[in-house]
């Protein structure tokens, strides 16, 4: 079995499906550089008109939260109902607000 000198790095692929929408994460792929990542992303993720714009980011450049910290990070939002409009009481006469 031969081994490669170095495996092509991994890239994360983001695609804007049409103008007016944000780029969304579509998946990942290996490529030697950014240019090749774009070319490969076109073939792998947009064979059926799925996109009008592609971003590629080398996976190692993404910093992510750790799911172990999800409690302290995201749970505090649960008891802050006053951040939602339905928390506030209005007189019945006020129909739209």
């Amino acid at each position: 079995m031969i081994t490669m000198k170095k495996e092509w790095p991994l890239w994360e692929i983001f695609v804007r499906s049409k103008n007016g929408l944000e780029h969304r994460h579509f998946g990942s792929l290996h490529a030697a550089d950014a240019e090749m990542a774009l070319e490969n992303a076109r073939d792998v993720y947009t064979r059926r008109k799925e996109g009008v714009s592609i971003w590629v980011v080398e996976s190692k450049n993404i910093t992510a939260t750790n799911p172990d910290n999800n409690g302290e990070l995201f749970e505090p939002a649960q008891d802050k109902v006053y951040r939602h409009p339905t928390f506030y009481e209005l007189p019945d006469e006020v129909k739209y607000m």
């Binding site: 079995m1 031969i2 081994t3 490669m4 000198k5 170095k6 495996e7 092509w8 991994l10 998946g27 990942s28 792929l29 290996h30 030697a32 550089d33 090749m36 073939d43 792998v44 064979r47 059926r48 992510a64 750790n66 799911p67 172990d68």
Partner: protein, 318 residues
Amino acid sequence: MSEAQIKILEEQFEARISRDEKIEPKDWMPEKYRKTHIRQMSQHAHSEIIGMLPEGNWITRAPSLRRKVALLAKVQDEAGHGLYLYSACETLGVSRDELFEQLHSGKAKYSSIFNYPTVTWADMGAIGWLVDGAAIINQVPLCSTSFGPYARAMVRVCKEESFHQRQGYEIMVKLAGGTPEQKAMAQDALNRWWWPALMMLGPTDAESVHTAQSMKWKLKRKTNDELRQQFIDQTVPQAELIGLTIPDEDLKWNDTEKCYDFGAIDWDEFWQVVKGHGPCNKSRMSARINAWENGKWVRDAAMEHADKKEKKELNKVG
């Protein structure tokens, strides 16, 4: 972590799955969950990649431009599906090189159906109709499996695959309605692919060792035998419609059960092919390994070029 702690984590984990929550790559998971997923997803990816070979055999000999562009697009989709699945698999911390190494060394399996030869053009019809038909039955339930990256890849795969089966059936429809020779060719392809397609849905429930665990993790929603029955019930009328005969003398409609009874499957043949003694195991593996080894200089050169370009950019900035 102590055993007791792991047990608690495992219970919480199983509870999440039974609540239909998805598991994402960085979440805690039992080692067995990780290993099972690497095994199944990589096997699935390898099947897509090896699956290109029997059909690639006919691209240059497709009978018309219409058939050629369709077959080419189908094979290209299979390459894409392999890539979606490999990258989903890599989120579990295994590298692409390791996955290829497992395929090339024979440690990892791929679907046995691809070890049968494609000897006539009608085989392109039979593969799309039967092999993709069986694959879709297997794959649709996986769109809601518990592991997020696998489920997302399967949604895309299933969406794209719906044309694969249609293009195959269309080939069969045309041949079956053609000259007596063309019809005979279609029937011959059905005769050769029918039983391997049934085997594709996996060993009988009694023999299937992973079923219970896989059901729990939603890697499976129905048993192999249920899926096989579903495949037979949907396919038999499609064969009748175009005047082809399913090569099974025991096949008949069971009016009480509202499904087809069918003959015994030759499981010895299945296990022989799994063990590497099918008609094309050797040629499939050598085609794959040759493609990988002959492409090495290209991969290395591309990496070298990228490194050089990056250094040049850095020098400019410095």
